[in-house]
């Protein structure tokens, strides 16, 4: 009896352990999927907002970034090249965040812009509605480039030219757009902030 009871109890424990393990595994997979979606701007666009949000898994163009030391007097030194490469990468990350939000995750755009722009520049940018026209679905970027000149003196100022081309659909019409912007950035306490900007966009033929 003891044995039988003991045997029954052992089976129950095994069953419960198996169930708990399965539940934990399922929870882990679900959490991983959710975290993965949350970190990807292309993915988060489709989670909970406007019908114009980008579909999750459309392939997007790779960002092409070129950073170079600007305003060099004389010959470019290795130190200037290194500073431009490192700071150019950091500044371009801020730019990528802004454009990923603007084009692929519109509801997050305001928060991201306020995080990366100086207050006056952010206000002007948001009031100018320099973003994707409404009701565009199936947004797919076909080219994304950043050309960033980093001040050779102390790598604290930078000027970036951003070019983006994209395809999308508005109702049943296919549209192609291109946007070009110039962003003036300054490094304040290790983070790059946009001080001023100039942007234009139009149909891409």
């Amino acid at each position: 009896m003891f044995l039988s009871v003991a045997g029954t109890s052992r089976n129950t424990v095994l069953k419960i352990t198996a169930i708990v393990g399965l539940v934990a595994l399922a929870a882990g997979i679900a959490a991983f999927i959710l975290m993965d979606r949350g970190s990807s701007p292309t993915a988060s666009g489709s989670l909970n907002h406007t019908p114009s949000a980008a579909p999750t898994l459309l392939p997007q163009a790779k960002w092409r970034v070129r950073a170079f030391p600007a305003a060099v007097t004389g010959k470019t030194t290795k130190k200037q090249l290194k500073a431009a490469r490192i700071q150019g990468r950091r500044a371009s990350q801020a730019i990528k965040n802004v454009y990923n939000a603007l084009l692929l995750d519109p509801p997050a755009a305001e928060r991201v812009i306020r995080a990366h722009f100086e207050p006056a520049a952010a206000r002007a940018f948001l009031s100018a509605r320099s973003r994707l026209p409404g009701r565009i679905t199936l947004v797919r970027t076909t080219a994304r480039t950043v050309r960033i000149g980093v001040d050779a003196l102390n790598a604290r100022k930078a000027v970036a030219t951003v070019r983006v081309q994209l395809k999308g659909e508005r109702k049943t019409r296919r549209i192609r757009l291109r946007a070009q912007s110039t962003l003036w950035l300054e490094r304040i306490h290790h983070s790059w902030r946009v001080l001023a900007w100039r942007a234009r966009q139009g149909p891409h033929r």
């Binding site: 600007a70 305003a71 050779a152 003196l153 970036a160």
Partner: protein, 304 residues
């Protein structure tokens, strides 16, 4: 032990020659490596009021050109005085040109020619004098002499200017050029902004030409930045090299961005209406009462 004949003069020469060379080197190098004096910078930029931030979207900057051949020494007279206004909302701008012989009240110094205010109290006093004259609160002043002007034009690779009339003043300013568009080299540009003998109203037309030159410089900046935005950093680097900044580099960067955003076609230039006369033995110009309405309009809109 007897020394060889001629050894003493040789010894003396060995001591004296290095001494002369050392003294010579110090004399040559001291101005280069020695302490940079406040007045030695070719261009100077500063704030008129510490901590003043314009909040109305109108920014006023006083541009002063002095008659110093090198640097900005004390005692130089202000030969060019221009108040530049920018409306940061509409991105329209205006230049108010003040003739240097304008007879005005200099705060704390009674009445005198406006160009003397630089001798009396430096660029800050020129700014305060213009403020008391126009009622406009000025945020920054920029000052350069001949040296700074020369370096700016040289480093930006010359400036294209539309010369209004034929100029022929070889013995004065050195300006000899025909009417029309010219790309001016540094010395030509300097002669263009200095020439007053070719104009019947002398300094009044000269001050208008100086505004014309400022606009040409703005046109060049804008053109370069439009074709290559990173060139703004080059302009900044030129400014840094020759400028003694009383403001932060960050502030200069913001001002440069602002300037590059103004289209020259949105910039209007007005010279203060004046009448010619004498104050004692001095030949001066008296600012006409009509100027009051110009100041009021400029203060309100920052352009004309």
């Amino acid at each position: 032990m007897a020394s060889a004949p001629g050894a003493a003069p040789m010894k003396k020469a060995l001591v004296v020659i290095p001494l002369v060379v050392a003294v010579g080197l110090i004399a040559i190098l001291f101005p280069i490596v020695g302490p940079v004096r406040k007045s030695a910078a070719a261009i100077r930029i500063g704030r008129v009021h510490a901590g003043f931030q314009p909040t109305t979207g109108k920014l006023f900057v006083l541009v002063i050109g002095n008659d110093a051949r090198h640097g900005n020494p004390n005692g130089a007279l202000a030969d060019a005085i221009h108040l530049v206004g920018i409306d940061t909302n509409s991105m329209k701008a205006g230049i108010l040109n003040l003739p240097r012989d304008s007879w005005v009240t200099i705060p704390g110094y009674g009445t005198g020619k406006i160009n003397e205010s630089l001798v009396d109290g430096g660029p800050e006093l020129v700014a305060r004098t213009v403020e008391s004259l126009t009622g406009i609160r000025i945020a920054y002043w920029v000052m350069t002499g001949f040296g700074g002007f020369y370096q700016i034009v040289k480093n930006v690779g010359g400036v294209k200017v539309d010369v209004p009339i034929n100029l022929n003043d070889p013995s004065g300013s050195g300006a000899v050029m025909s009417a029309g568009v010219h790309k001016l080299a540094p010395l030509q540009a300097l002669s263009f902004v200095r020439d007053r003998h070719d104009f019947p109203d002398g300094d009044v037309s000269r001050t208008a030409n100086q505004a014309r030159f400022l606009l040409a410089l703005l046109r060049k900046l804008r053109h370069e930045v439009a074709s290559n935005p990173a060139s703004l950093l080059k302009w900044m680097s030129i400014a840094r090299r020759y400028t003694r900044l009383d403001i932060s580099l960050s502030e200069l960067f913001r001002l440069a961005i602002l300037a590059s955003d103004v289209s020259p076609k949105d910039v209007s230039s007005v010279t203060v209406p004046v009448s010619f006369g004498f104050e004692g033995p001095q030949s001066v110009v008296f600012i006409s009462p009509q100027a009051t309405s110009i100041y009021a309009r400029f203060k309100k809109k920052a352009h004309f």
